[in-house]
């Protein structure tokens, strides 16, 4: 066995916070003055909730230890395809967490928020510039909500024109699962079209399904197959000529940042994952931020609030300013603290840096791909350039040795590398979707290739080692079937 325990995690497991609880223990410094509250007896809670009773130190130690059981960007190379796990600059966090920003109530008068609102207004303007769109709303709280906003705007646009029959959204089969799920949430019918052997959308299939029922098409470009959709101009013409609109899923915007603008490609609406391209933290699965940008036709339908600017200063635009808006998607204006981080990041990166991001993300991906190719690994689309990510298929290992992409992924953890995205996109067998991002140094990429080569050697010599991986983490492979069958979703005291 050849893992590197020093770089993998070898922390002891940790009991639950409830196991640490002792009746009557409390964090004295956090107790406000006791005051009587006059709750009508019929509305009063009878039994205290089962919350832990621990000291402040116990809580601090417990959650610090739990954090040490995680892989993260700050501790490990994290080449998770389609997720853009780049460095999250600490400065973005520090300056977004200035006490004035943290303490500002969302409904405070705008005179008490001109500093914050100016940042938001300028963020809108910068996002317009990098995407080539005419208007931006920052309110969607994640990529999936941005998608929802985009499709809802497409729907509202057709409805406003009295074009009520356009109920179909076309989605390539390689798309993220959120695309069809979003179309359904917007009350649309999903029409899937295939991709060809080179990873481009199949134009002939599109030609067959596009028509008077087409509301729009959702495209990711570069696609989730890690290649640039070369027929974009033809696709655009087909869909626009049929009266449909083009939706750009910005999941892979990092690949083309500063090189190509979705607005220039002819897209009518785009969502951006600020937690990918603009480096706000992923936080263990959120918060994201899914700002949307639109071309001229969809401007009146943007979700509110949007930040506007006039002689009196900055203010929120609402229903009165945008009466045709698709409405509100969050309690206030989205994940505002995340938006501040994205703003700070964009200002630090600046004009020239913005154009280098796409370049170096692409350089890193193509370098990794070239290294893997030289080592005899099999790219899913061998005739194509990588964009900011690419796919390896392990189908031959699976067929000849019974060692799957998942086995490689799990064994990588022992070597101290987070696994690439596995089994997505669904149409490539035994796939590993690998995205290094621009913030990784060449040494990290070389180390990753060396680990994959070593694992492949192991797969030939001792496949069981991979099947049983990981070996050095706090737990070994978990029984997912048991998890779903014997649901244990909450802690309960021992009987």
């Amino acid at each position: 066995m050849n893992p590197t325990p020093a770089s993998a995690i070898a922390a002891p497991r940790e009991p639950t916070i409830f196991d640490l609880s002792r009746s009557g223990r409390r964090a004295e410094a956090q107790m406000p003055q006791a005051m009587a509250a006059d709750v009508p007896p019929a509305l009063r809670r009878r039994r205290r909730p089962l919350l832990p009773e621990v000291s402040e130190l116990q809580a601090v130690r417990h959650y610090t230890r739990l954090s040490q059981l995680n892989f993260s960007i700050d501790t490990h190379f994290y080449p998770l395809g389609s997720c853009t796990m780049k460095y999250n600059p600490r400065g973005c966090n520090q300056y977004a967490m200035l006490p004035e920003f943290l303490g500002r109530h969302p409904l405070a008068p705008v005179v008490q928020g001109q500093g914050y609102l100016q940042c938001m207004y300028e963020l809108q303007e910068m996002l317009k510039e990098v995407t080539g769109m005419q208007g931006v709303s920052l309110t969607p709280m994640a990529g999936a909500q941005g998608e929802f906003a985009g499709v809802a705007m497409i729907r509202a646009y057709h409805h406003a024109r009295g074009d009520l029959d356009r109920t179909e959204i076309i989605v390539p089969e390689a798309a993220h699962g959120t695309n069809p799920a979003t179309a359904t949430m917007c009350g649309m019918k999903v029409i899937e079209i295939p991709c060809n052997a080179d990873g481009d959308c199949d134009i002939e299939s599109l030609r067959k399904v596009v028509g008077p029922r087409t509301a729009g098409i959702m495209l990711t470009n570069p696609s989730t197959l890690g290649v640039f959709e070369r027929h974009i101009a033809e696709l655009r013409a087909l869909v626009h000529d049929a009266g449909g609109l083009l939706y750009y899923d910005g999941a892979n915007l990092n690949a083309i940042l500063g090189k190509v603008r979705p607005g220039d490609m002819g897209f009518d609406v785009i969502h951006m994952n600020l937690h990918k391209t603009f480096s706000t933290p992923h936080g263990g699965g959120g918060p994201g931020a899914g700002a949307v940008g639109v071309g001229a036709r969809l401007l009146p339908f943007l979700p509110i609030p949007v930040v506007g600017c006039d002689a009196k200063g900055y203010r929120y635009l609402d229903e009165r300013d945008l009466p045709q808006s698709i409405g509100r998607l969050s309690g206030f204006m989205g994940n505002s603290g995340v938006l501040l981080r994205a703003y700070i990041y964009m200002r630090m990166v600046g004009r020239e840096g913005m154009q280098r991001i796409g370049e170096y993300a692409t350089l890193n991906a193509n370098y990794l791909l070239a290294r893997f190719r030289h080592e005899g690994f099999e790219p899913a689309y061998p005739t194509r350039r990588a964009t900011h990510e690419f796919i390896l298929t392990m189908k031959h290992s699976a067929r000849d040795l019974g060692v799957t992409a998942m086995d490689f992924a799990k064994r990588l953890l022992d070597f101290g590398y987070h696994a690439p995205t596995t089994y997505f996109p669904l149409l490539v067998p035994e796939c590993l979707l690998i995205e290094p991002t621009e913030t990784e140094a060449k040494e990290a990429l070389d180390g990753f290739v060396a680990a994959m080569v070593a694992i492949r050697k192991e797969s030939v010599e001792d496949a069981a080692l991979l099947k049983g991986a990981p070996h050095t983490l706090p737990v070994r492979r978990l029984d997912d079937v048991r998890a779903a069958k014997h649901l244990d979703l909450t802690w309960k005291p021992a009987a």
Binding site: T16, I17, A27, Q30, P32, M35, A37, D38, L43, R44, P49, L51, P52, V54, E56, Y63, L66, N70, S72, D74, L80, E100, F101, H105, P106, A108, Y116, C119, V130, G132, A142, G177, T178, M185, I232, G258, K259, V260, R261, M265, H282, G284, G285, S330, G331, N335, R351, I357, L369, A370, R385, E438, T439, L473, P474, D479, A483, H486, L487, T490
Partner: protein
């Protein structure tokens, strides 16, 4: 300053390995006509020192007013340890725990969070959190349509006393799937949603009824009767609750004879800063029988190959990455970071601390109400039991009053006149455990001065 580590030597070596002469050549599959020009609308780069100065100046411009606004976001003390731990890189820069073995910290935290939320709400199961309270209600309404198989109408009874933004948000998100929201009036003297006003729906096919406790006015609803009415009429009951209040108030799992079916709410009061409205998180809990209709991530405890306990995402067959167009929701993430903060917050304050925070907030609001209503031209809109907010009716338009308060460094409340013209001029105010006797006296004096000035003008 794009956080790119490459040296010129690295770039040369990498290009040689790839077999191209320049980085630009890597973009040769993109039609030349599509290539972007310089991004003149983006300002030049700033160093961390420079952006730090700019942000500090902008923050200073916003200042730190004494805050009396609630209306869906509440100022509570946050123990320093909460965000010191939450911003650790291992938490802050991890992603969705798809690789369970490399994410046990995040997964166990979610499991602990689910346990705390289930217990606070007295429901059987919780998900790993949603985006926020407002969108959480929209998801709950969509879920009720899936879970209430006997109902065919997709009609949701939505009291007018429910937070107006939650109502708008539910309409915007769920309206596209054909849900119809019917507004239920409140009693103009009590501010409560009266069971009597539901009489018109007797015998109708109702999918669900929404009950907010406390409601938008801060008033406590007769939740037992409303819940029983819903169940007696074949509707599911959706509770919208304030999590702090649950330390004192009867939890939704115990409302009426059977308890509610879905409980949702805004999680922000549990250790999340106000931060101009986000990021917050929504919580959602339900009965075990509806767990497969619940949107969002769910974590379960299971065993590993060696038979030792561990945590993993479960019931993923509900989710978009598996079910695509047939998923329960398009939701992909939870609000992991905020959920983590809330879990640490609840661990530190514990059951007694949360109860004290809730009691102090309620007591401070009672004090604020008395002080404000003693001001000439101010009265309570409703005489009813309430939690930590009160709707005041003024004798002059609210906007000018709030402006005057702002000039004295006070964020003086939420102008509810636009949402409730029938109650205008109406000002919703809130006090929590963060407010002192002096703060409340300062507010009352400033309010008196503002009203006096408005009357004189």
């Amino acid at each position: 300053m794009a956080f790119i580590p490459h040296t010129p030597d690295d770039v040369r070596e990498m290009l040689d390995t790839i077999g191209v002469a320049s980085i630009d050549e890597l973009f040769d599959e993109i039609p030349a006509t599509l290539r972007a020009g310089p991004l003149t609308g983006i300002p030049p780069a700033m160093s961390e020192m420079q952006i730090g100065r700019l942000m500090s100046e902008r923050a200073a411009r916003d200042g730190r007013p004494l805050n009396f606004i609630g209306a869906g976001a509440y100022e509570h003390h946050i123990p320093a340890a909460v965000w010191a731990i939450t911003t650790r890189g291992e938490i802050y820069t991890a992603y969705t725990p798809y690789q369970a073995e490399a994410s046990q910290g995040t997964l166990q935290t979610i499991y602990e969070y689910q346990s705390m939320i289930a217990s606070l709400t007295a429901m059987e199961v919780s998900n790993a959190s949603l985006y926020d309270g407002a969108s959480g209600l929209a998801e709950a309404c969509l879920m009720s349509v899936r879970a209430n198989r006997r109902s065919k109408s997709s009609r949701i009874l939505m009291p007018r006393a429910v937070n107006p933004i939650y109502r708008k948000c539910s309409g915007a998100i769920a309206g596209n799937q054909g849900l119809r929201f019917e507004e239920v009036a409140f009693d103009p003297s009590t501010g409560q949603t009266a069971v009597e006003s539901l009489a018109g729906y007797e015998g109708d096919d109702i999918t669900a009824i929404v009950i907010q406790q406390p409601n938008f006015f801060g008033v406590l609803e007769d939740v037992d009767r409303l819940t029983d009415w819903g169940h007696a009429h074949g509707a599911l009951v959706i509770a919208v609750v304030n999590p702090t209040s649950l330390a004192l108030l009867k939890p939704p799992g115990e409302w009426g004879e059977k308890g509610v079916d879905i409980a949702v709410g805004e999680g922000q009061p549990l250790g999340v800063p106000l931060s101009s409205g986000g990021p917050y998180f929504g919580f959602m809990a339900t009965r075990m029988e509806h767990v497969r209709q619940m949107p969002g991530r769910i974590v379960g405890r299971t065993l590993d190959l060696d038979g030792r306990p561990g945590f993993t995402l479960t019931l993923q067959a509900r989710e978009q990455h598996i079910r695509r167009g047939k998923a329960t929701s398009n939701i992909c993430t939870n609000q992991g970071l905020l959920m983590t903060a809330a879990t640490i917050y609840l661990s530190i304050v514990g059951p007694e601390g949360l109860e004290r925070i809730a009691s102090a907030s309620m007591a401070r609001t009672a004090q604020l109400a008395a002080a404000a209503c003693a001001v000439d031209g101010v009265r309570a809109a409703f005489v009813s039991p309430r939690f930590h907010e009160i709707l005041l009716r003024l004798d002059t338009p609210v906007a000018a009053v709030l402006e005057a308060l702002a000039s004295r460094g006070i964020a003086g409340g939420y102008d509810a006149s636009g949402d409730y013209p029938e109650l205008a001029p109406a000002l919703l105010v809130c006090a929590t455990e963060t407010k002192t006797d002096e703060d409340i006296a300062r507010y009352a004096n400033a309010l008196a001065a503002a009203l006096g000035a408005a009357r004189a003008a």
